[in-house]
């Protein structure tokens, strides 16, 4: 016979020793007892066992328990364990956020580096820089041979280097700056100063350059020498125009054909050399006595319709460059 009763019999015996059995269960037990008398012994053993467990002595809790509990609660209060436990939830949130940000950073960093590499590969080729150290550029500005041999692309139709040699460089420089500001070219201008030379590099539409040059007319009488070097993109040389006049600069600035510009510059240079009565160097105030037509009129075929006197000047979209230098006249 198997001593181990079935689970349902186990529960029946358990209910009986707990006096929790229903009448139906008691009847069932009596019925089972007739077929299996050993169940009576099992019931007795379980009762014996329960009595044994019920009678197990109670061990007193440690005497220091009350004091220990109060000390622990006080310690928790002082150390802020309550707040710590509540903060731990927030800390877990922050930790999660930090982990997410870390993962994001780990993903984005290589992507960023990859993007830079791809950009470096795919970006259009950089413009050929005509960078020359500023000091060298300024020092050599008035000499044709040392002008930038490789101009920035695209080459502006007109790029001139206007040099004012004067014994009053500060007054002339201030006047130029004021006019640049008045005309609204200040944002197109890059000023610089090295030693006694002030330079202003202006990149603006030809009309604006012409307007500026016109406004600078009072500068001429205060200068002993005014020279314009015009860059000839055809042969990458410059054409020096001595004693250049404001109207000539305006005309050259408006010309958008490099060939015509070069021819016009050569013509002005030649004409100016023949004249020694330019009003540069004359006392201030007499400039208005000078006639506007003392310089040769250009033949219309040369201008090929791009510019003719008394006609509306076409507005060129492409900006032109004018470098103005104001130098102290050492002579």
């Amino acid at each position: 016979m198997n001593d181990t009763p079935k689970p349902e019999i186990e529960e029946l015996l358990s209910a009986l020793i707990d006096e929790d059995a229903s009448e139906r269960q008691k009847t069932e037990f009596k019925r089972l007892l007739q077929h299996e008398p050993a169940l009576a012994d099992q019931l007795a053993a379980l009762r014996h066992q329960k009595q044994l467990l019920n009678a197990l002595p109670i061990e007193p809790a440690p005497e220091s328990l009350l004091a220990d509990i109060k000390a622990a609660m006080e310690r928790n209060l002082i150390l802020g364990d309550y707040r710590e436990s509540s903060r731990s939830v927030m800390g877990a949130g922050n930790l999660l956020l930090r982990r997410i940000l870390t993962v994001a950073a780990m993903l984005l960093l290589p992507l960023g580096l990859l993007g830079v590499v791809v950009f470096e590969i795919l970006k259009p080729p950089a413009e050929i820089s005509s960078y020359v150290p500023a000091k060298q550029t300024l020092a050599d500005e008035h000499t044709a041979s040392s002008l930038p041999s490789v101009p920035a692309a695209p080459t502006p139709p007109f790029e001139g280097f206007l040099v004012f040699k004067t014994s009053q460089p500060m007054a002339v420089g201030n006047f130029i700056e004021k006019k640049v500001f008045d005309i609204g070219l200040i944002r197109f201008m890059v000023p610089n100063r090295i030693d006694d030379t002030m330079t202003y590099q202006i990149t603006a539409p030809a009309e604006k350059i012409a307007e500026l040059v016109d406004a600078l007319q009072p500068v001429w009488p205060r200068c002993e020498q005014v020279i314009l070097n015009v860059y000839n993109s055809a042969n990458k040389q410059t054409i020096e125009i001595p004693n250049v006049q404001p109207e000539q600069i305006s005309t050259l600035a408006r010309e958008d054909s490099p060939e015509l510009l070069a021819r016009l510059a050569v013509r002005y240079a030649s004409a100016n050399l023949k004249r020694d009565d330019s009003y540069a160097g004359r006392p201030a105030g007499i400039e208005n006595q000078l006639s506007d037509n003392i310089y040769p009129e250009l033949n219309p075929p040369i201008l090929t319709g791009r510019y003719a006197p008394n006609q509306t000047t076409p507005v060129l979209e492409q900006p032109v460059k004018l470098h103005i230098s104001v130098k102290r006249n050492a002579e």
């Binding site: 066992q49 044994l52 467990l53 009350l66 220990d68 509990i69 622990a72 928790n76």
Partner: protein, 204 residues
Amino acid sequence: MAFFNHYSETKSFDDITLVRQCQRGDSKAMDCLILKYQDRIYNTILKICQNRDDAAELTQDTFVKVLESIQSFSGRSSFYTWLFRVAVNLTLNHCRKRFKTTAVSLDAANEHFEKDKERLVSMLADPNGPDPAEIAQQKELAQIVVNLIGQLPQDFRVVLVLRDIEQMSYAHIADVLELEIGTVKSRLSRARMLLRELLEPVLT
């Protein structure tokens, strides 16, 4: 301190009154609750975890946890049930961790258990069987019985301790363990049978 100088004095205060006083910050009421239940909690934990130091620490943790959150006690179940629920949960968690850390020493424990069993059998050699109360009152023998209880699977052990030692009702056990009463009865009957198998050489 004369207010609760003796354990029996604390029994004169009903739990809900003491809890309300605790919630108002009455430290004497808190002491009363501790003194009222400390022995029962300690013994229950000790029977489950089988280690006095652990039982003392777990009893302390139980009261600290309950008293620190006494403001949240709404009275849906009795304080007694709540206290035992916290105690049993802490103890079971502790036992699970300890089981993981001491699994390698199970063989040694079994060897120790067999020695205890043989010792108990030899001490109770009377063929008519000893009186259970007498066995229980002998400290060494009682300890052997407790050790045998400790050999039961944890889920069965807890139910057996709460019913046959702490003498809780089925309903209370179900509340404490958050189980169905049927599950409690089933586990209890299984636990009793398993313990009987362990004690049979001694008690028959």
